[in-house]
């Protein structure tokens, strides 16, 4: 059993009477991609900021690599980390190549080492043809990939990525996923926060679900779904769909029923009889699908909108 690259124990952070992170513990093993998911305001970004030593925890311990402690050994830790923040912090006055050069200098890397890495990093980010372009000339996806390339300038073993694909179109997002998978194949470890369940399912070997600063579930995506949900979901929508909630005979065919807006969700272990019974409402539209992470997420954190997160 290898020692974890990052282990967080009993982390707490309060702002006044508001507890933002509450007794949170987790770890990342070498070569693993850990996804942190949770609604807005769940404490994801605060946790990440504490892991980066940008704010101090009120209680708890954060340890990296072989016994380095945050924030005490912050500089030694950051020298071996790659970080992509939620908001791009690329230098608008510099070209793509200059952005990498200047960032490499912050790590105290020798000039020739950085210059040697720049073409490789740009190629990795699929930006080889954009080396002299400034960020304002790059698309959203290109900027995010340049941010990722910049985070790799010190050849880190562990990457901390805060919502790396938020705001990207599907093509750009798929390209980003491809690059992250490549990094995992190279043996890098990743901590990733995300709002996209397909992203979490695709990239993460293990997931941490947090809400109100607390860990509410942890495990491999498929295991979590199997553990918390019925395997099949039948969604029914259309004129009068919510009226089905009054049909006790129909409800008896599902283990759990939920309404969200105009759609009724039936969660079931055996969809056959339910689908057959639904034929009695030919005007309704029926979608039968396996349970997914999104169902899990909504079950654990509720369907209500989190404002001000």
């Amino acid at each position: 059993m290898q020692k974890p690259l990052l282990s967080v124990e009993h982390l707490c952070k309060r702002y006044g009477s508001n507890t933002v992170v509450d007794d949170l513990s987790f770890h990342i093993d070498p070569g693993e991609c850990l996804g942190v998911i949770g609604p807005n305001g769940a404490g994801k970004t605060t946790t990440l900021r504490m892991c980066l030593g940008l704010i101090g925890p009120d209680a708890g311990a954060i340890r990296y690599f072989e016994g380095l402690a945050m924030p005490h050994d912050a500089l030694a830790i950051k020298a071996r980390l790659g970080v992509v923040a939620q908001m791009d912090t690329l230098d608008p006055d510099f070209t793509a190549a200059e952005n990498l050069l200047v960032f490499g200098r912050y790590f105290g890397l020798p000039e020739h080492t950085i210059r040697e890495r720049i073409p490789r990093l740009l190629d990795f980010a699929a930006l080889g043809h954009k080396r002299d372009a400034k960020p304002s000339e790059l698309s959203g996806g290109m900027k995010r990939r340049l941010s990722l390339a910049r985070a790799l300038v010190n050849e880190p073993g562990l990457l901390l990525l805060d919502e790396p694909t938020t705001g990207l179109d599907p093509q750009a997002r798929h390209l980003m996923w491809e690059r992250l998978q490549l990094l995992l194949q190279q043996g890098k470890s990743i901590l990733l926060t995300t709002h996209f369940m397909d992203e979490a399912e695709r990239l993460c070997g293990r997931l941490l679900v947090i809400d109100h600063g607390r860990k509410i579930a942890e495990g491999r995506p498929r295991d979590l779904i199997a553990q918390h949900l019925e395997p099949d979901v039948v969604e029914v929508y259309g004129q009068g769909a919510t009226g089905l909630m009054g049909q006790t005979a129909l409800q008896a065919l599902a283990s759990r029923t939920e309404v969200s807006g105009e759609t009724v969700f039936f969660y079931t272990r055996d969809s056959g009889p339910l689908l057959a019974a639904l034929q009695a409402w030919p005007q309704l539209r029926v979608l039968h699908r396996p349970a997914n992470l999104e169902d899990l997420f909504l079950k654990l954190t509720g369907r209500q909108i989190r404002e001000g997160g």
Partner: protein, 268 residues
């Protein structure tokens, strides 16, 4: 395990990591140096022409430390201190605020192994460098115009760097407190503009009422003028140590306050 963060007032933790941050600013500036040079020296030269040649013809020579001095030399030696102050202040307010708050450049840097203390140090030295650059250009023009040929200008040069350092430290306090650019107007109208008129740049401080004069003698800009003007006149400053210590005290205390307030801002 309960823990408290170290106080924002704790001793500055500085290392040489300020240097890559300084170089970053230098690289941006290299791209814009020529246009910014024109802006930096055009204004002080206009002051010089309007007041030195224009008003100077009406005013006639003044007496400083018992020595006669032309109004042109009087205003040239005073306004170069003002230029150092303005160049450092603009850089440490507007430009530093853009990097810190608008572009989030500092946030990016802090994800690398660089401490906030070193970033603040880099910004402070960078603003002082900008002041030195402006002052050097103006000195060059003054030499060409033959306003002063004092060999002691070689001493005035590092003194003006010190003036830049003091005013960039002071401006960084307001940078740390700012929510937007508008805030800086207060600093200019409430602090810098009154100081310009109280520090003996345009007229001798002896013209001020005694009480105001006594208070004004402790202003950092007064200290700068009292150090620089005699050097332009090829004399050594009287009370040079005292004025040097005033600048140093303003610089050290301001840097400390600026650092504490910046740390507080980033812990938010």
């Amino acid at each position: 395990m309960q823990r408290t963060e170290p106080s924002v007032w704790s001793w500055p933790r500085l290392s040489m990591r300020w240097w890559p941050v300084f170089r970053r600013n230098l690289l941006v500036w290299q791209k814009l140096a020529i246009p910014s040079l024109v802006g930096n020296i055009a204004e002080p030269l206009m002051w010089l022409v309007a007041f030195g040649y224009g008003l100077g013809a009406l005013v006639g020579p003044l007496t400083v430390d018992g020595q006669p001095v032309s109004y042109l030399l009087f205003i040239a030696s005073g306004s170069i201190c003002m230029s150092a102050m303005n160049a450092a202040t603009f850089e440490a307010l507007y430009s530093a605020f853009s990097r810190m708050h608008v572009q989030k450049t500092w946030d990016g840097i802090l994800n690398a192994p660089v401490r906030l203390d070193d970033v603040v140090m880099a910004e402070m030295l960078w603003a002082a460098f900008k002041a030195l650059f402006t002052v050097t250009a103006i000195l060059g023009v003054m030499l060409v115009l033959g306003i002063s040929h004092s060999p002691k200008l070689l001493v005035a040069w590092p003194v003006l760097l010190g003036v830049g350092i003091t005013f960039s430290c002071m401006a960084l306090i307001f940078n740390a407190l700012a929510k937007g650019y508008d805030f800086f107007t207060y600093y200019f109208t409430l602090f810098l503009t009154p100081m310009m008129f109280l520090s003996g740049i345009f007229f001798p401080r002896e013209q001020l009422p005694p009480l105001v004069q006594a208070a004004a003698s402790w202003l950092p800009l007064t200290a700068a003028v009292e150090l620089v003007r005699p050097l332009f006149m090829d004399r050594w400053p009287e009370q040079g140590l005292r004025h040097g210590l005033v600048l140093l005290a303003f610089a050290v205390v301001s840097f400390w306050v600026a650092l504490a307030l910046t740390r507080k801002r980033f812990r938010g």
